[in-house]
């Protein structure tokens, strides 16, 4: 295992310290357990947005803290949901009197820890709503599983709900918008090579030199099928088919197309993927109205990508376009 780290058990501590040093506009609690908050939190009268989860997905969530997006992010240990304490601390820190929305990726650990935190925050008089994100179509039959996972679509929920909160929507409205985004986004990912969790020191699964893994999550979990290596176009087709079938997306839809890198894949490859994905959507009569390409919801050094498609309407488009000012996503100010 070759990584730019020191002690494998200190990766999160040192990365959080690096985030604090690189982004002085944020207010980072650099002693564990960590909270990364907006410098101006709490914003009086505004609904606060808190998300969090295991570390290793950077820039998610800390890189999305700022004007127009999250008010605070709570990074847990690598791939391990944070405990309730820092979630409660973050909730209190961002409560400006209008209540707080928890954006939770659908993993048993995240759901349980945020649940406890919401109970504790409520006990302290803070109104909390929770939205569970489950955009990953790789997990097929949700009746017999822990349900679909929350993956790259989370970013889209955070951006759009964040814009709604920034314009002054009430807690119930912001939660409703977040749920609308979740209901309209579908994602699927794949890996060319697994990631290596620092303290594990070995790859999270084994892949042969000519094998790829389809339907991976963002925690180094193996995916839904292991197949022989294919050209990028075939991979894109394989990822898009279940995405388009599932919602289903239809001819005439306007969508946001998001091609996401898993952490170890360079941008040039993501553009190759984007090209094909846009082509396939066009061939279905689906109009790509907004785009995002980059490594935003990662899985340490995993090589691979995910594709997310969000069906837009005018209201969602306007919120997507609204100003955002965070370390990893920024426009309009």
């Amino acid at each position: 295992m070759k990584k730019l780290i020191n002690d494998p058990s200190k990766v999160v501590d040192e990365a959080v310290a690096g985030i604090a040093a690189a982004h002085p506009e944020l207010r980072v609690i650099v002693d564990p357990p960590y909270v990364i908050a907006r410098g101006d939190a709490p914003v009086q009268g505004k609904v606060g947005l808190v998300s969090g989860g295991g570390s290793g997905h950077e820039p998610l969530h800390g890189g999305f803290v700022g004007h127009g997006m999250l008010d605070a992010a709570v990074p847990g240990a690598v791939f391990t949901s944070p405990t309730p304490d820092p979630i409660v601390a973050a909730t209190k820190a961002v409560d400006g009197g209008a209540g707080v929305l928890h954006i939770v990726k659908n993993y048993t650990g995240d759901v349980l820890n945020f649940e406890t935190a919401a109970d504790l925050a409520l006990a302290e008089g803070i109104e909390v709503e929770s939205v569970i994100i489950d955009d990953d179509v790789a997990v097929q039959d949700s009746l017999y599983t822990a349900g679909r996972r929350g993956v790259a679509g989370t970013l889209l929920v955070e951006k759009i709900a964040g814009a709604a909160a920034e314009r002054g929507d009430a807690l119930a409205e912001v939660a409703e918008i977040a749920r609308t985004v979740n209901a309209n986004v579908r994602s699927m990912g794949m890996a060319l090579a697994p990631c290596t969790v620092p303290h594990a020191g070995e790859p999270s699964f084994d892949l042969g030199p000519d094998e790829i893994e389809i339907g991976i999550g963002i925690h180094g979990e193996p995916g839904r099928a292991r197949i022989a290596m294919e050209p990028a176009d075939a991979i894109v087709d394989r990822l898009l088919a279940p995405i388009l079938d599932d919602l289903p997306f239809a001819s005439g839809d306007r969508v946001l197309l998001f091609v996401n890198g898993m952490g170890g894949t360079p941008l040039v490859e993501l553009y190759v993927v984007f090209r094909r994905a846009a082509e396939v959507l066009a061939s279905h009569g689906i109009q790509v109205a907004r785009t995002l390409v980059g490594s935003y919801v990662t899985s340490l050094d995993m090589q691979g990508c995910s594709i997310s498609v969000l069906r837009l309407d005018d209201a969602l488009t306007e919120l997507w376009d609204a100003p955002v000012q965070t370390p990893a996503l920024r426009w309009g100010r």
């Binding site: 240990a77 391990t80 406890t116 822990a146």
Partner: protein, 203 residues
């Protein structure tokens, strides 16, 4: 042997020792069908438990000790196992009340722990989770003639329950994402449950 406060401390310390020893093995089970951190998670939690136990009042009851374990796990473990084991120890501490020993209520304490896990995680036996170790253990303890026998029977049943998760397809937790690919692998949480209950029998 009385299942008093001293025993409770010995039990928890033995769990901490064994989790530290078997950390890599537990994470390895989790790597096969989860995300590879189960050993790390529990070791982080029980290391914290061990250091806080030292600060606890010398006259703390078994229930107070179990409560400390619960709150420490909840605030240090994270992941799925943190809230689940945390709830288990919390409900166990409530069932223990302020009794000096657990001898007369061991089966109830174990049942409360299991019920707490089920209440939070909604898993049934056969879903390939820690419940597959807890439920047979609770049943075996309830059928045992006394507390000491109950501990041994619970440990045996938990181990058998853990082994029995191997052929299963998972319906809860991360392993559920794998469908049939989870078959042939033991659930890590059921294995750590067996570790905890075996430590109870040997404490």
């Amino acid at each position: 042997m009385a299942l008093d406060a001293d025993w409770t401390r010995r039990w928890i310390e033995l769990v901490a020792d064994r989790v530290a020893e078997r950390k890599a093995e537990l994470s390895h089970l989790d790597r096969d069908i989860g995300d590879g951190d189960h050993g790390e998670n529990l070791d982080r939690g029980f290391t914290a438990v061990r250091s806080r136990l030292a600060d606890l009042d010398a006259d703390a009851t078994p229930g107070a000790i179990l409560k400390l374990v619960a709150t420490t796990l909840i605030s240090t473990v994270g992941g799925a196992s943190g809230p689940l084991y945390g709830t288990a120890f919390l409900k166990a501490s409530m069932a223990a009340g302020d009794a000096e020993t657990l001898d007369d209520r061991l089966a109830d304490v174990l049942a409360a722990a299991r019920d707490g896990i089920v209440a939070r995680g909604k898993a049934e036996v056969g879903d390939k989770t820690m419940v597959d170790a807890w439920t047979p253990a609770v049943d075996a303890a309830a059928a045992a003639p006394d507390a000491v026998a109950a501990l041994a029977a619970a440990a045996d049943a938990a181990e058998a329950g853990a082994a029995a998760t191997e052929p299963l397809v998972a319906r809860k937790g991360r392993a559920s994402y794998l469908g049939e690919r989870a078959m042939g692998h033991r659930d890590p949480g059921s294995e750590s449950t067996a570790l905890i209950l075996r430590a109870a029998a040997e404490a």
